[in-house]
Symmetry: C2
Amino acid sequence: MPTSTSHSSKLASHLPTWMQHYHRDWLTGDITASLIVALLLIPQGLAYAQLAGLPPMAGLYASIGPLLVYGFFGSSMTQSVGPMAITSAMTAAALAPLAAAGSTQYLILAATLTLLSGLMLTLFGAFKLGGITRILSLPVIQGFSAGTALLIALGQTGSLLGTSWRGDTLLTLAINLPSALHHLQLANVLFGLIGLTLMWLAATPASQLLVKLGMSDKAAQLAGKILPLLVMIILGILLAGFDSAHRIKTLGQLPAAHFASSELKGIGTLDLSSLQSLLLPALLIGLAGFLQSITVAQSIAAASHQSIDANRELLALGNCNLAAALVGGMPVSGGFSRTVVNTNAGAQTPLAGMLSALWIVLALWLLLPLLAFLPQALLAATIILAVSRMISVEQLRLAWQFDPRDGLAWLMTFSGVLLLGPMLGIALGVGIAIALYLWRSQQPHVAVIGRVPNTEHYRNVLRHRVDTTLGILAVRVDENLYFANIANVLVQINAQLANYPESRQLLLVLSAVNSIDYSAVNALKDWKKTLSEQGITLHLAEVKGPVLDTLRHGDLLDQLAHAPFISTYAAMQTLCPPELDYSI
Amino acid sequence: MPTSTSHSSKLASHLPTWMQHYHRDWLTGDITASLIVALLLIPQGLAYAQLAGLPPMAGLYASIGPLLVYGFFGSSMTQSVGPMAITSAMTAAALAPLAAAGSTQYLILAATLTLLSGLMLTLFGAFKLGGITRILSLPVIQGFSAGTALLIALGQTGSLLGTSWRGDTLLTLAINLPSALHHLQLANVLFGLIGLTLMWLAATPASQLLVKLGMSDKAAQLAGKILPLLVMIILGILLAGFDSAHRIKTLGQLPAAHFASSELKGIGTLDLSSLQSLLLPALLIGLAGFLQSITVAQSIAAASHQSIDANRELLALGNCNLAAALVGGMPVSGGFSRTVVNTNAGAQTPLAGMLSALWIVLALWLLLPLLAFLPQALLAATIILAVSRMISVEQLRLAWQFDPRDGLAWLMTFSGVLLLGPMLGIALGVGIAIALYLWRSQQPHVAVIGRVPNTEHYRNVLRHRVDTTLGILAVRVDENLYFANIANVLVQINAQLANYPESRQLLLVLSAVNSIDYSAVNALKDWKKTLSEQGITLHLAEVKGPVLDTLRHGDLLDQLAHAPFISTYAAMQTLCPPELDYSI
């Protein structure tokens, strides 16, 4: 390893690897990708900020800081960090009970929420808690995403059709529906529906057509992302020319600057109870954002043989949110669709993201007056198209088909989000995932086993033709033994003892028991006493190394008539010598 | 089976079995036990009612109803139901934030809490949720009991020494300590300490002495329960004679009647938010009470070969609490020490309990004026002696020695109770027990296995001298595969693949995997793709019946190059035929 002593080299060695070894060949790809992603980010940032109940500009500023920061801390080469639909919807749900959307108090709370979320993620990263998202199971993640996407899409229908239909949950949306229907106007409805249809046609169908016409898959996919933007711009220009009565609402003149740092100063004005009520939302938004980021990063990395460090990603996303708190004041995360665009457009390193940030700053400087002409309805259409791919009934079908309990978890999380909102929905999901796992392990499989004739193997008497030995009952327990299932296990074994009343020796075969806890050991000891009173002797066989190590710390082993047997066969040989064997 | 058509027989057939077949021989035992238990219940009822923040008489009335009801619904022959220390302390903790102790509002809330708790338990019983207490692990139960007992004992020290030292948690107790110390008076302190010492001597040491003097164990144990009462009565009489200045506080004149049914009428005056805030406490008190009852019933039943039906006990305790809500207005549960007394005093059937209720009614009628002379300090001593046996550091040592994680759960629940009170403490305990189990299963044991020479057995290469085959890596996973651990499992297997870089075939041996969930299967499928890209083929062996059934619902099996192998040996035979075997 070369030792460098110059100051600049020392500094350089602290830079990310990709910066130290940047290769000239990567530049074209990074620049192209940066332009396309910036093009995507501008309408998305504006739209997601509004979804979060914030001024549109907040979304653009929140895009700049994180993109610059991610380049220094992230481990994914092409992850695109910025405002995203789910975290934006969760922000709105978290802040709605605390302040009126758009009020100064709301802005301060949003910046504080982002700051707290960033701090938590950074802290989790420092403590190497990258595995935190594992408390969510796949059906729960899918149900959560589908439910939140449906809520967002429904909520955006209001903006799409030019009414003020709003609501955090299915219930509030339903309550507000009649008045929203009352305010529908034909021009708005037509413009919204036509805009959505054209943008949708310009997305998937157009790219499929381009593939048929001979374009490469990647290029066609990119075109499918850019074309809807073109539709939006063209419709905006048409509107500016023909809608002199301003019946279709546009974004309107935006303020030149929107720095959340000034809002952050307002933290001092927040009382302790407001801060406290932001803690759980900050955690859940951080969790949801990180879940999305790590999933995106891993799926992209798997395709391109990079490796992703979950703890480093956690730190990176935490720092991105700290940056977002300072400049934009809304939570950010990695986004699937934008990251795919970035990758397919040729991005090689995070330089692409950093350049995107530069283009957005330039756009803010040069194009700000033009943004005023963007129709609100088409920003809503952007969101609807982005989230609609997350609503998949096929996922539910697959999960249900695999195991109805997994399907139930999907459905319960999905319904939880629709009825309680995304914030409580994800909290509910964590609970459901854990409850489902505990439920599974509470109903253990317990099998009486017998000897496969002329072998040393023992199998379930119900599934195989095997020989059992009169007076000795061999029972295999197929589950870890712990507080929540030990009572069920003992009930099942007692039932088997009642089926074989002549048993005087009970052999517990623990080949499938990977762990045993203190509660289970104590229950076994009590049960052993009861067995003794009934004249039945307890033996153990095939105890795994780690379980044996655990048992050595208690006194159950000392109370056994015989040390645990190495195998069922060995136990049978000892307990019932072959010459005495009178198999039935 | 004889068919009976007469009306009285029909009615009788609805009575509990013990009533239908009551045997004359049982009567002596039942009557003796009933007298002794009534004698115990009177001071305990008075003391626990005060612990719950209620008028002393509430405890006596709350003893009568449940004893009569349990006889009809319970499955334990000698369970003694009534006010108990832990549920009383939880009642106080639940109601303290809602109303001032002793106020009418407080009485109404207590009766309502009891009613809700009874309804919940009855409902759980109807839905056969007798297994509900299994969500608590042994260390959590022990830590909860020890912490609550310590809190109760500390809190009662105030009454014992004649000050008004009070507090729900260690913190409030500490804050109130200086002022309590300031109000200490020598006469009170001496009387309290002497009373406690004498009552303690009259308990365990006296009964040990009696055994040495030749008394039977059971009789001595009973004497150890009755003698402290005698001490209390004698001290009360002495006090009445000599303390003319009334420096030592006595119970004072009690009202003749205290029926909670009149308070229950006040439910109508409660607002919805008060009712809502009682729901969780009612659930937790019901849970703690049932936990205590079922533990007592089962330990007594095991010794006397009765069988206890958890669901029937749940129904019985639910009905007992409904009765308590009507007549006493405070929650009841089975009590360990009283049940042991009842059993040892010769109780044969629940008739003993029903007779106890009768004696208490008689005592209320005849002896009420005499109760006025009972010193408050000695009621506190009764409580302190009752709960002190639950504070055991030995339990912590045993749990810690078995597994530091179990010790940690004990300690965390114990500290949780001390810092947050018994109410939040038990809720915390449920969380800790579950988190501990998940933590265990998150760190799975993954072993590379090799063939024990000249056998068909495969064992861990690190623990045994075995042969491995170049190009084929056999890995055994010793844990169920599910959302929270699948990522860790794959990381470990990838690390082993890096250790054996020449591997082209990977054999996963699933002999210790008892279940696999949807998240895990999907992660395996993604991982299989990554392996394929690296030129590694995945195989499965020793998949258990139930796991195989689950896997058939997904498409993982279809994607495998070979159907799962019946054994590791069979897999090795197929993947590397003996003639090609070049074992290293």
